[in-house]
């Protein structure tokens, strides 16, 4: 599904985001990206949804080289990827249901489709009772669940989460990871960048460790492996 072949990426200011990274992620996998701050985890996720472009190497998603994507085609790539960030990125002046519906409105989905998909996504994240609340009335964990509902409402085959638990307490973090795990069990590929040692160690999923832009470890059923 995701195939990086000798990918390097330099930022315009000369910083090396990734160096010669080769990585293959299969459909239905659950992958943790770990590594110290500045290792290149976010850079890798940004390359996958084409916020950044590889400077060198090939990046194939479903067999398509997305380095050569034309600007007009980028929105279509993003429609097939659910994206979750540490800071939720909800619109404060829209209700929970409106925030989730927004993902379908901006890709011009039919009204009937929106009316069916939004409650289903909210049910999946366990927030069907809060659909008319405003984001400010929710806890951090609940807001992140709204963001996840928005990411999956379109049934994307891939969800990318960049430190989704970075702002949450350990208990709430577990709820979020379990939710992503449930989504993964329904067949969705999950790539999650994280700092959370406990979660990585007990989930026993594939772990890809980055350091200074390079992959230093790639283990099935791996552990966090750092003592920070």
């Amino acid at each position: 599904m995701i195939n990086l072949i000798n990918v390097s990426m330099n930022y315009p200011n000369g910083t090396r985001g990734l160096i010669d990274v080769t990585l293959r992620i299969k459909k239905g996998e659950f992958v943790f990206l770990v590594g110290p701050s500045g290792a290149g985890k976010s850079t890798l996720t940004k390359l996958i949804f084409r916020e950044e472009k590889p400077t060198r190497g090939q990046l194939l998603i479903n067999g398509k080289n997305i380095a050569r994507l034309r600007p007009r085609e980028i929105p279509f790539l993003r429609r097939s990827i659910g994206i979750v960030f540490q800071d939720f990125k909800l619109l404060p002046n829209k209700t929970v249901a409106e925030n989730v519906a927004f993902a379908l409105e901006v890709i011009e989905a039919h009204k009937r489709e929106i009316q069916k998909a939004v409650p289903a996504a909210l049910k999946m994240v366990g927030l069907e009772k809060k659909s008319n609340a405003m984001p400010a009335q929710l806890s951090g964990g609940e807001q992140q669940r709204v963001a996840i509902a928005r990411a999956i409402v379109n049934n994307p085959p891939l969800v990318i989460a960049d430190e989704p638990t970075g702002n949450l307490d350990p208990e709430t973090s577990w709820e979020i990871v379990n939710l992503l795990h449930d989504i993964n069990k329904c067949g969705t590929t999950i790539v999650m960048a994280t700092h959370d040692k406990d979660i990585v160690d007990s989930m026993k999923k594939r772990v890809v460790a980055l350091e200074k832009g390079r992959i230093v470890r790639d283990e099935e059923r791996g552990a966090y492996g750092y003592e920070d």
């Binding site: 949804f49 600007p71 007009r72 928005r150």
Partner: protein, 301 residues
């Protein structure tokens, strides 16, 4: 880009545009005012240009050479000259006016002050003359020189240098007008860009989320584009009203109250309508340009 767009989607764009106009009502009014001021000046310059062109055209077509025959030349000899004058290159129309006709025309012009002629003792002081118009005003000088060379001519009169002066004046007015209009147009685009940039900036989070959710650039652009176009159009409406009202009042004053239209002011209604359309179109376009320009940074691709 608009093809295949659903009516409902377009409704969404319009709602978003007006929501944002409402939210930033003061800023929107200020930029509409700027567009209005720029277009008012543009409109005034256009009117000045149109009127000088109109005046130039009128004067150009009115320049007539009057060539007076010597008293010693009889009417029969005089009329025979017609063929020769018509043969001069550049001549369009030749009319012989004998001194009796000339006197009659003069009487008509004098109206109720005929006693001035009586004061001359009833004799006709006027010579026989030719009225000659040229194909183009540039020919006047050449033709006049040829006429002066004829032995039968006493004197040749025409608006000396008038045509040339007029030409240089209208050329300058046109050039200065164009420069002024272009500069003002740029200023208006810049100001609209600044206003929409505020809107875009206020909504950069929303734009970022829309991009993340895979919405197309045009889908993101349209509400802002419409917002800019509404601002531009609204400013243009104000400008059209002001310019038309001011010009109508001005021409009314000159023509009705002063009974004086020597400048030959253009009063054609169709002209005003056309100019209004041009201004509305320009305003809307300026608005569109301004908002597209202000979005470039936020829609990096």
């Amino acid at each position: 880009m608009l093809t295949g767009m659903r009516i409902r989607t377009f409704g969404y764009f319009i709602r978003e545009a007006f929501k944002s106009l409402h939210r930033n009502s003061w800023m929107s009014l200020a930029s509409a005012g700027t567009v209005a001021v720029s277009l008012i000046i543009v409109g005034m310059s256009l009117i000045t240009i149109i009127n000088t062109n109109y005046l130039a055209a009128r004067l150009e077509s009115n320049i007539e050479i009057i060539s007076y025959l010597k008293d010693s030349v009889s009417i029969e000899q005089g009329t025979k000259l017609k063929k020769e004058i018509e043969g001069i290159p550049g001549v369009a129309k030749v009319r012989f006016v004998n001194r009796d006709e000339a006197l009659m025309e003069f009487r008509k012009e004098l109206g109720d002050q005929q006693n001035m002629l009586e004061a001359l003792g009833g004799s006709n002081p006027l010579p026989n003359l030719y009225k000659i118009s040229t194909i183009s005003p540039q020919d006047v000088q050449k033709v006049a020189n040829k006429l002066e060379a004829l032995a039968e001519m006493e004197k040749v009169d025409y608006g000396k240098g008038m045509a040339e002066k007029l030409f240089t004046i209208t050329k300058w007015v046109r050039m200065v007008g164009l420069v002024v209009i272009s500069l003002l147009g740029l200023a208006a685009v810049f100001l609209i860009a600044t206003t929409t940039r505020l809107t875009v900036f206020a909504r950069r989070k929303e734009i970022e989320i829309m991009r993340m959710l895979g919405s197309s650039n045009w889908f993101i652009r349209w509400p802002f584009l419409l917002e800019g176009m509404v601002i531009g159009f609204f400013g243009a409406v104000i400008a059209v009203i002001v310019v038309d009202a001011a010009y109508l009042a001005f021409t009314d004053y000159i023509i009705r109250d002063l009974k004086f239209n020597i400048f030959g002011l253009a009063t054609d209604k169709r002209l005003m309508i056309n100019m209004g359309m041009v201004m509305l179109g320009t305003g809307t376009l300026l608005g569109a340009f301004g908002s597209v320009a202000s979005m470039r940074k936020f829609l990096k691709v």
